[in-house]
Each structure stands twice: as structure tokens, then as C-alpha cells.
């Protein structure tokens, strides 16, 4: 618990200055405060131009922040110490055409301060895991997009980094390859590697990530666990990891429940008269969707139903897809 977070930012902002003569400011990131714990699989979501790439570049030291601070594994950004412990798979990776799969891995491993021998020793198991062993000695010029992505993933983890930044890791891959990559990433996570995932494929994020952050127009709208974000009813922006902003945040957070009930329709309606809900009666079974604020409310509800003689066949949180949650959040943040 006392461990430093893998990634920590405090009011991180970046404004680009464009133009040579008439210079104009282009804000890209505004006051992002974020913490990613070690061992997490963290997803960063946002539309095009939301600031995701800028955020990652700030963490990698490719651009300088206008204000705020960022730390990687406790080291301030940019820091060579931090960069020794991170791996990165950029979007649209370009590997020099004169390299083969094996020599490319060796080369990138040496850039990460591995010896050539050590890099080669580690490269083979990785290539096998990612299905590239048979093509290891072929020129990368002959690789497909998916193969290049897998090669890129291999170079990102070759030196056993503590944090891995992946930018669209499954871009261009077929479903089988994607499944392979997901398994690979889960294995990474199991070993304790922190994974920072930047992807447009929300299904992918949903399958992999523990927590996600949503960026919209340079501002952090929400940071929650996947369960929370898909089960919670939509609320306004959050700026702290795992919690919501504002004094009424706890009261505002509601979960949606799905109940399957058996009993008289009138009794059910009467028991649930105090709260808005959706009811669907069919074949003597009633499906109800309603929102509750906390566990006490759930208990009270169950008591009322039982008192009304209604049987509770099933009670479970109603989950939306991440895409639905994301779209809802973005819509709400755009509303005046």
C-alpha cells in the first residue's frame, strides 16, 4: 500500500502554440489529475482530439507540460530512470526494413540496455508466444500489419518493464490474433506489470482493463473501475481516481438493478410505487429495472416486496456496455 503509484499526474496541462507569425494557443490537456496503481490494467478512452496521445507523450517525455507535474514509478517525468523501466508500443509502428523480426527485437532490446545475447535469449520465447517464431528470420518488410503489431508488442515487453504503454495494440489484427494478445496481456498483468492501454476498441478495453479514464476535450471526465462505470447511472465529471467530484457525490451515485419477480401485478406495483422503474409483465413473471442509491435501499425494497407477498426470483445489477456508458458520459459532459 505504501508503494508509489506507477503513474501519477497532478493538474497536468498542455497548451500547444501554433503558427510562426500569428501565434495562437491550442489547449490539448487541462488539469488532468490521475493515479494508476502498480499492477493495474488501465484504459484511457476519448474521442479523436481528446488529448489521449498528448497525455501519453507527456508521460514519455516527448512533449513538455505547460503546467502540472507527472511522475512515473516515482521518478519525475522525463527521466531516463523511468524510461528504463517502461515499454512502449506506438501507434503505426515503423520498424526499419533492413531488420528481421529477431534482429529488430535484439536491436530494441539493446536500446533498453540489454546485451545482445540477453536480448536474443529473451526474444525467442516472446516470438513463440506471439506466433512469430516461424517468421523470426524473415525481413520485416514481409510482415503483415498484425505481425508488425505483435512484433511491436514483443519489443515493448522484452526488457521486462514495470509499466507498458500500449497504443492501439490490436490494430490490424484478426480475431484470433487479438485473442492471443489478450491472453498475453493478461499473463503480463498476472506478473504484476502495469499496463496503460490506449484504444478505440471499447470491447477490448472492457475485456482487459481494471479501470478506465475518459478524456473529453482535454479534460478528465471520469475515472472509475469498469464495474462501476458500467453499472452506475450517469453522473457529472469526476477528477479523482475512484471517486467522484463534489460534496454530493456519494448521494448522487446510483446503481441500476434488475429484478425478476413472481406475484400479483398489483402487489408489485404497490410495493414499487415510491420509485420510478420499468416493468415488464410476461408469463407470470415480472422484470423490473430500477435505481437504488445504496445497500440499505436494496434491503428495504426486498422487505417491501416480501411483505407484499412477491417472490424474488432474481436480483442483479443491471450492466450497460462500456460503449453505452462512454457515450452517455461524453454526451453529458457536452451538455451545457
Amino acid at each position: 500500500m505504501g508503494e508509489t503509484p506507477a503513474i501519477e499526474t497532478q493538474d497536468l496541462s498542455k497548451t500547444y502554440v501554433l503558427g510562426l507569425v500569428r501565434r495562437r494557443a491550442q489547449p490539448a490537456l487541462c488539469g488532468v489529475t490521475l493515479r494508476v496503481q502498480r499492477g493495474e490494467v488501465f484504459g484511457l478512452l476519448g474521442s479523436n482530439g481528446a488529448g489521449k496521445t498528448t497525455f501519453v507523450k507527456l508521460l514519455l517525455g516527448m512533449v513538455r507540460p505547460t503546467s502540472g507535474q507527472a511522475r512515473l514509478l516515482g521518478w519525475p517525468v522525463p527521466s531516463q530512470e523511468a524510461r528504463r523501466r517502461l515499454g512502449y508500443l506506438p501507434e503505426n509502428l515503423r520498424v526499419p526494413a533492413h531488420l528481421t523480426g529477431l534482429t529488430a527485437l535484439t536491436f530494441y532490446g539493446q536500446l533498453s540496455h540489454l546485451s545482445a545475447r540477453e536480448a536474443r535469449r529473451r526474444a525467442w520465447p516472446l516470438l513463440e508466444q506471439l506466433g512469430l517464431a516461424a517468421r523470426a528470420n524473415d525481413s520485416v518488410r514481409t510482415y503483415s500489419k498484425g505481425m508488425l503489431q505483435r512484433l511491436g508488442l514483443a519489443q515493448a515487453v522484452l526488457h521486462e518493464p514495470e509499466v507498458v504503454f500500449l497504443d492501439e495494440p490490436t490494430d490490424g489484427m484478426d480475431p484470433v490474433a487479438r485473442a492471443q494478445v489478450r491472453t498475453f496481456l493478461k499473463e503480463l498483468q498476472r506478473r504484476g506489470t502495469t499496463i496503460f492501454l490506449n484504444s478505440h476498441l471499447l470491447q477490448e478495453v472492457e475485456m482487459l482493463c481494471d479501470r478506465v479514464a475518459i478524456l473529453d476535450r482535454g479534460r478528465l471526465r471520469q475515472v472509475s473501475s469498469l464495474v462501476e462505470i458500467t453499472t452506475a447511472l450517469p453522473r457529472s465529471s469526476a477528477d479523482e481516481s475512484g471517486t467522484r467530484a463534489g460534496p454530493d457525490a456519494a448521494q448522487d451515485a446510483e446503481r441500476e438493478l434488475e429484478l425478476i419477480l413472481q406475484g400479483s401485478q398489483a402487489a408489485i406495483e404497490q410495493a414499487l410505487a415510491d420509485r420510478p422503474c420499468e416493468m415488464n409483465f410476461h408469463d407470470g413473471v415480472t422484470r423490473v429495472h430500477l435505481g437504488v442509491s445504496d445497500q440499505a435501499a436494496v434491503d428495504a425494497l426486498v422487505d417491501r416486496l416480501r411483505q407484499a407477498g412477491v417472490s424474488l426470483l432474481c436480483l442483479m445489477p443491471r450492466r450497460r456496455s462500456l460503449e453505452q456508458a462512454y457515450l452517455q458520459i461524453v454526451r453529458e459532459s457536452a451538455a451545457p
Binding site: Y16, K57, L60, G61, M62, V63, R64, Q80, E81, R83, R84, L86, G87, Y88, P90, E91, N92, L93, R94, P96, H98, L99, T103, F107, Y108, Q110, L111, S112, H113, S115, A116, G152, Q155, F165
Partner: protein
């Protein structure tokens, strides 16, 4: 720490090896080497006359004709007899035309040489009666003892060559007993007038640097820039730079390592070419020159200068096309600056440089590098050019020798057509008199291969050259009469002429050669090769050898000598400076000379107690010899001095562009200054071109560094002893282009690194 950077270097080599262009260029290099491999040489006895071995064609022709006209058996009579009538007629006509037309002189030279080479191969040349008064060399005597039929064609030609050159040694120069032929497979060139050693020097000084310079410095550089122009921009592809910057590397380190890695392509090709040339030159021409290997880093360095521009452009614009375009533009700019500097220097500035000074009473006369005679016009405060009437205003070619003859109040100078290998045609003494407004007029003929003129203490005019010392009999201003008879120019006497005045006949002084006359006593000192000879007049008009001294060390390429009072100063171009006694040439002292410059001229005060030394980089040293103690040279001018003269009144110093100053005494205070206003080209050169040239890198001049590495010489000379080596010696600082290039590379890379560190990706 350095492992990642080594990996980048290693990757660059791998990238170069994987490049198809590399294999293509390597194939071209191998083809070139294969084409050069059949070149070879063979050495054989010298037989036919080479161009430069016929010194005085008109003189030899006249001698042959005169000998034939006498009718008694003689070598000249025999040779003329063997020529076909048409040949004789043609030669006679050409001799007549040559008196008026320089081109006819060249044709005469060629025709006579061809005729003599024909005679050399005749089995019937030798006539015992004709050669009985000639002291033939031992080689010829041995060949004559053998039956003629037993001699091979080569031996016969060799014998005839010796028979030809022995009686006519003033007209035919011997360059030793061997000549070299260059071969290519089964083909062989005409015999060249070089020894094998001279061929090696030619190869090292001219051929190899030229070939290598054109191929590697020219085509190779263009190919290398085209191939490597994309390496730096490719690094900035978004999918590539992001990954590289995420690694624990410094941006500057990444760029510099990538930059150095780009040399792999050039290194492989240059090593292949120069290694191949080393092998071919050594195996086929017996010229193993390790300097070729040392040239590899020089060409690599040349590439780095251009590549620095390409890298900077690649970092800023991230485009291979812009990189190539800017690099070519940069090359053009450097080339233009360098060429402008050299052209202006060679065509405008250098020819105007004053090389000789003659202070005549209240008149100052100078001669420039191009041979132009100038008179200082006090009214115009400028130099007035003196032209030769009847020669269409053509300036007098340089031939050495400029003295003021006080008794006749005339300036004496020698004119003749000099080629780098020696004089071509006759040399004439020109006399410019005050009463003729210093316009030079033709005077008596001067002995061929005259190097300079001397004035003795009793105002006798002497001419010295490889054939010895000659005194002008008669006044330099008197001209003789001649009669044209049957195509011959028969002198009728009455004019001045140069006659040998040494006590020893048949003197042959080897190059390098320099001489000086004591201004107050009848003594002449001659420095020839490694020897210093003191000649004293015996009262009967002949100079007798009085003392001799051999200078230690290797034979210099150039000598400077001066004599006055008790001192003789002599030095080779590299030094040391020797002070010898003017009585017996006993060594008094020596002073080392700077290693970075070559001595060009020594001027000594008429009392012999002070001297000034001029170096080829324009530095001027002064020496005080009055104390008798150790000579302590003192530098008084940092550069740009071009000529010296020391008269009774002052030390005259000429410097750039055309200024002459008269300096007084040991302190050197300037008594008078003669400086014309700057002409437009001079202004342009000094204030625009030269500063730009100083600041810009000079990749073209890395050729000088290549020559230095191949020869070890810091100046460019021909490997032949020439009459006036100063004409062909170009001083150079072989490391100047390396210094300026290094500064440029550092500045360009620093700018690129700063940009990269600040840039956001």
C-alpha cells in the same frame, strides 16, 4: 551506458550492408580496379630524346649546320649528313620562322627531336673520325668495343644516344641512364623522361590524388549524399521517433550516433577503393604508399562535412528531398566560394604579386609574378606597367633575373619561354634604360637554362645556370650585327655576349641551384644540390674555385643563398639556415627554420651584418648578425610579404596587394611607402571573398591533405629538378581544411542537437 549507442552504430552498418546501392557502388569500384589492374611499368636504358631533354633546339640546329659547313669530320657534320634533304630543308625553314613566331619555335623543337630520334636508331651513326676528339662516357666506350652486329636494337640506340648527347651537352640534357615506360597489358607508352623514383613521386603527388579526388571526392560524394540523405529524416517517422524517444537515450546522443552511423556506407566503399589502389600501385608499380590508407579518414571527413548539412536539414524539415537539395546547394556555395577565391587569387591577385624589387636611384622598379615590369609613378601614386615595344603589348614571361646596372643606368632582366620542365627556346637579356623611360629592349642572348643574373662588386654582369657561370662581355646596352646567309644567322660581332668565366670547363651544376655575388668583393657563391662552392676572381677575369662545403642532410628541393661582408647565408627550403664564412665557407652557425613554412628568399645587408628571411607563407624574419654571437631570428611580419631586396639605402619589403615599403636599419622603421589604391577586384578579394573563404568549410581543399598524406610534403612541387622551382611550389597548410571542416561539423551538429532537444514530437 554506451550500449544503446553502440547498438545504433551496429545497426547502421547492418543497414549499409543490406543496401542494394552499396552492392552496386561496390561493384563499380571493383570494375574500376579491374580496369586499372593491368597498368604497370618497365625500366629500360634511355634512348630517344624526350621533349624536355632537348634544351636549345635552335642552338643545336645552328651547331649542326655550322659543323657541316666546316666540312671536317665532327659529330655535328655526321648527324646533319644522315638527315634527309627534305628534313634539312624543313628544319632550316622552321629555324627562320622561329625567330619571329613562338609557335614555329615549338614546331622546330618537335621536328628536330623527331629527326634526332630517327638518327638514334641508325646503325651507321658512329664514325670514329667524327668522335675521336670527344670524351665518351664509359658506357659508350664499352658498347663500342663490341661488334656492332652483336648489339641489340636497344643497345645500339643507347650507344647512339650517348654519342649524341656527349658533344652537345649544352643542347641535350641527360636525365640519367634509364627511362620508364608505362605499360597497360601488352601496350607500352613512349619512354618517359622520368626515373622510377620520379615516377613514384608523380604518382603520389599528382596521379593518385587526382584519380582518388575525382572518383571519391566527386562522384563518390554525390552518391553517398544521395544514399544517406534519408537516414536522418526516416528516424522522424511518427511510428519510429516515438519508439526511439521512449527509450532511455539522450536525444543528442541518438542523433550523433545516427549521424556517425551514416558513415558506414562511405567507409566501406572508400576502404574498398583505396585499398584496391594501394594493392595495384604496390604490386604493379612497386609504389607501396601507406598514405593511401591514411586518406580513408580524410574522405570520410569530407563526407561528414556534407552529411552535417544533410543531417541538420533532416532534423529541421524531416524530408530526404530537402536534405539532398540543401546539401547540393551547400556544395555549390562552398565550391563557388572556393573557386572564386582560387580564381581571383590565381588570375588576379597572384599575378600581381611583386616578386622582385630593384631600387634604382630615385626610381622603384618591380617585377610581378606574371613577369610584368612596373615602375612607380609618384605623380599618379600607382604602378605604371612597362611594355615591350613591337610585341603587341605582351608581358615579358618570367625567366628569373632582375638587376640594376648602375654604370649604364639600366635594368637588366632575362626573358625566355619557361616550361615547368625547363626553358624552351632561347633566352635573351632585356635592357630597360632610364633614358628610354624604362622600356625594355632586346639585348644579347643569354646562355640556355639561365636561372638568374648577378652583379659583381665591379659591376660586371654575370649569368648563372646549370651550365655554369657566364660573364657579359661588353656593355649590356650595345647590340651586335649579324648577317643572314643561306638561312643562317651569322653574327658579325660588335655586340655584348655572355662567355664562360669559370676556370673549370664543362661545369654542370645540378638543381636546385642558387647563387649570390658579394656586393663589395669579387666573389660568387653557388649553392648546387648539397654543395656550396665559393668562386673568387683571379684578376684575369676568371673565377676560380676557392672553397667548397657540403650541406648535411638530404638534398633540398629549393635553395636560397646570400653573401655580403664576412657572411654567406645558405639554406634549403626546410632549413636549417647556415652561416658560413665568406673566406673559406667554414661553418659559423646554424639556425633552425619553422617547420610549417618553407624558406623562399634570403636578403642580406650589403655590409653582411643583418639579413632578412622570407618564407612562402609570407612571414618575414630578421636576423642580426652584427654581434657575432648566436643568430636570434625575430619575426617582423606575420604574413603576406611577397618579395625582399636589400640595397645600400634600405630594406625593401613588398607585401599584399602591391605595396612596397622601404624600412630603415635594425629597427625596421618605415622610411617610405609605395601603395597604390585598391583596384575593384582587389577590394572584392580582400573584403568579401577572402573572409567568406576563411569562414566556410573547404571540402575541395581536402585534396591538399590527401597530397600531404601521400607525399609527406607540405608543398606541391614537380619531382624534377627545375630551373626555378619557386614557380611551381605552392605552399599549403594541409590541415587547414580539416580545421575549418571540423569547426563547421561541430557547429552544424550542435545546431541540430539544440533543435532536437527543444523540439516537441
Amino acid at each position: 551506458m554506451i550500449r544503446p549507442y553502440l547498438a545504433i552504430l551496429n545497426d547502421a552498418v547492418r543497414e549499409a550492408m543490406a543496401s542494394r546501392v552499396l552492392w552496386f557502388t561496390s561493384g563499380l569500384v571493383l570494375l574500376l580496379l579491374a580496369a586499372l589492374a593491368p597498368i604497370g611499368y618497365q625500366v629500360q636504358p634511355a634512348t630517344e630524346l624526350a621533349f624536355a631533354e632537348l634544351i636549345d633546339a635552335p642552338g643545336l640546329l645552328e651547331k649542326l649546320q655550322v659543323d657541316h659547313a666546316r666540312g671536317t669530320p665532327s659529330p655535328g657534320q655526321r648527324i646533319w649528313e644522315l638527315l634527309a634533304p627534305q628534313e634539312r630543308q624543313r628544319l632550316t625553314q622552321l629555324a627562320k620562322d622561329a625567330a619571329r613566331d613562338g609557335r614555329a619555335a615549338v614546331r622546330l623543337h618537335q621536328a628536330l627531336r623527331e629527326a634526332l630520334n630517327g638518327v638514334i636508331h641508325r646503325p651507321d651513326l658512329y664514325d670514329p673520325a667524327a668522335w675521336d676528339r670527344e670524351a665518351l662516357p664509359r658506357e659508350a666506350q664499352e658498347l663500342l668495343t663490341r661488334p656492332r652486329a652483336s648489339l641489340s636494337a636497344l643497345e645500339l640506340a643507347r650507344l647512339n644516344r650517348l654519342l649524341l648527347q656527349t658533344p652537345f651537352d649544352r643542347h641535350v640534357r641527360s636525365r640519367g641512364g634509364q627511362s620508364v615506360q608505362v605499360t597497360y597489358g601488352r601496350l607500352a607508352s613512349d619512354p618517359l623522361p622520368f626515373s622510377k623514383r620520379q615516377l613514384d613521386e608523380l604518382l603520389a603527388q599528382w596521379v593518385l590524388p587526382t584519380v582518388v579526388g575525382w572518383i571519391v571526392g566527386g562522384f563518390g560524394m554525390v552518391a553517398a549524399i544521395l544514399v544517406t540523405s534519408g537516414m536522418i529524416p526516416q528516424m522522424f517517422d511518427p511510428g519510429s521517433i516515438a519508439l526511439l524517444l521512449s527509450k532511455p537515450l539522450s536525444r543528442s546522443g541518438l542523433l550523433i550516433t545516427k549521424f556517425l552511423g551514416g558513415c558506414a556506407f562511405v567507409l566501406i566503399n572508400v576502404t574498398l577503393l583505396l585499398g584496391g589502389l594501394w594493392l595495384i600501385a604496390g604490386w604493379r608499380l612497386d609504389c607501396w604508399n601507406a598514405g593511401l590508407w591514411a586518406c580513408i579518414p580524410v574522405f570520410l571527413f569530407m563526407f561528414l562535412v556534407y552529411y552535417a548539412v544533410s543531417a541538420l536539414a533532416g532534423v529541421v524539415w524531416k524530408s530526404p528531398v530537402i536534405s539532398v537539395g540543401l546539401t547540393i546547394f551547400f556544395w555549390l556555395v562552398c565550391f563557388a566560394i572556393d573557386l572564386s577565391h582560387d580564381l581571383l587569387n590565381d588570375l588576379a591577385m597572384r599575378p600581381q604579386r611583386i616578386r622582385q624589387i630593384a631600387a634604382a636611384e630615385d626610381t622603384l622598379l618591380t617585377r610581378t609574378e606574371s613577369g610584368v615590369l612596373q615602375l612607380w609613378d609618384a605623380a599618379q601614386q600607382d604602378w605604371q606597367v612597362l611594355r615591350v615595344p613591337g610585341r603587341g603589348g605582351r608581358n615579358l614571361p618570367l625567366a628569373g633575373g632582375l638587376v640594376y646596372h648602375a654604370p649604364t643606368q639600366s635594368l637588366l632582366l632575362v626573358e625566355g619561354l619557361q616550361t615547368p620542365l625547363g626553358p624552351l627556346g632561347r633566352m635573351t637579356l632585356y635592357v630597360a634604360r632610364a633614358e628610354d623611360a624604362w622600356r625594355p629592349k632586346e639585348g644579347p642572348l643569354v646562355p640556355s637554362s639561365t636561372v638568374g643574373l648577378l652583379l659583381t662588386s665591379d659591376r660586371q654582369v654575370l649569368a648563372y645556370g646549370q651550365e655554369g657561370l657566364f660573364r657579359l662581355q661588353g656593355s649590356p646596352t650595345s647590340t651586335g650585327r649579324s648577317l643572314s646567309l643561306l638561312g643562317l644567322n651569322v653574327p658579325l660581332g660588335g655586340g655584348a655576349e655572355f662567355r664562360p668565366c669559370l676556370s673549370e670547363p664543362r661545369i654542370s651544376w645540378e638543381a636546385p641551384l642558387a647563387a649570390a655575388a658579394d656586393p663589395r668583393e669579387k666573389k660568387v657563391v653557388v649553392a648546387s644540390g648539397n654543395r656550396v662552392l665559393l668562386w673568387v676572381e683571379d684578376g684575369q677575369g676568371r673565377f676560380v674555385r676557392h672553397a667548397q662545403h657540403t650541406l648535411p642532410g638530404p638534398r633540398p628541393k629549393r635553395l636560397s643563398v646570400a653573401m655580403a661582408g664576412p657572411n654567406v647565408l645558405v639554406a634549403g627550403e626546410q632549413g636549417p639556415l647556415w652561416r658560413l664564412s665568406s673566406d673559406d665557407l667554414a661553418v659559423r652557425q646554424s639556425v633552425p627554420l619553422p617547420a610549417t613554412a618553407e624558406l623562399q628568399q634570403i636578403a642580406i645587408r650589403p655590409d653582411g651584418l643583418a639579413a632578412a628571411l622570407l618564407f612562402d607563407d609570407g612571414r618575414l624574419w630578421k636576423l642580426d648578425i652584427s654581434s657575432g654571437g648566436p643568430m636570434q631570428p625575430r619575426q617582423v611580419h606575420a604574413g603576406q610579404v611577397t618579395a625582399l631586396a636589400w640595397s645600400e639605402e634600405a630594406l625593401w619589403v613588398a607585401d599584399e596587394p602591391q605595396r612596397v615599403r622601404a624600412c630603415d636599419g635594425p629597427g625596421g622603421a618605415v622610411q617610405a611607402e609605395y601603395a597604390p589604391p585598391l583596384a575593384r577586384t582587389q577590394w572584392l578579394f580582400h573584403y568579401v571573398v577572402r573572409p567568406l573563404h576563411l569562414l566556410s568549410p573547404k571540402p575541395r581543399q581536402l585534396q591538399q591533405t590527401v597530397q600531404y598524406l601521400l607525399t609527406g610534403n607540405e608543398s606541391t612541387t614537380l619531382p624534377f629538378p627545375v630551373a626555378d622551382p619557386t614557380r611551381l611550389t605552392r605552399p599549403r597548410d594541409p590541415w587547414a581544411p580539416v580545421r575549418s571542416g571540423l569547426v563547421f561539423i561541430v557547429v552544424a551538429l550542435t545546431a541540430a542537437c539544440l533543435y532536437l532537444e527543444r523540439h516537441e514530437f
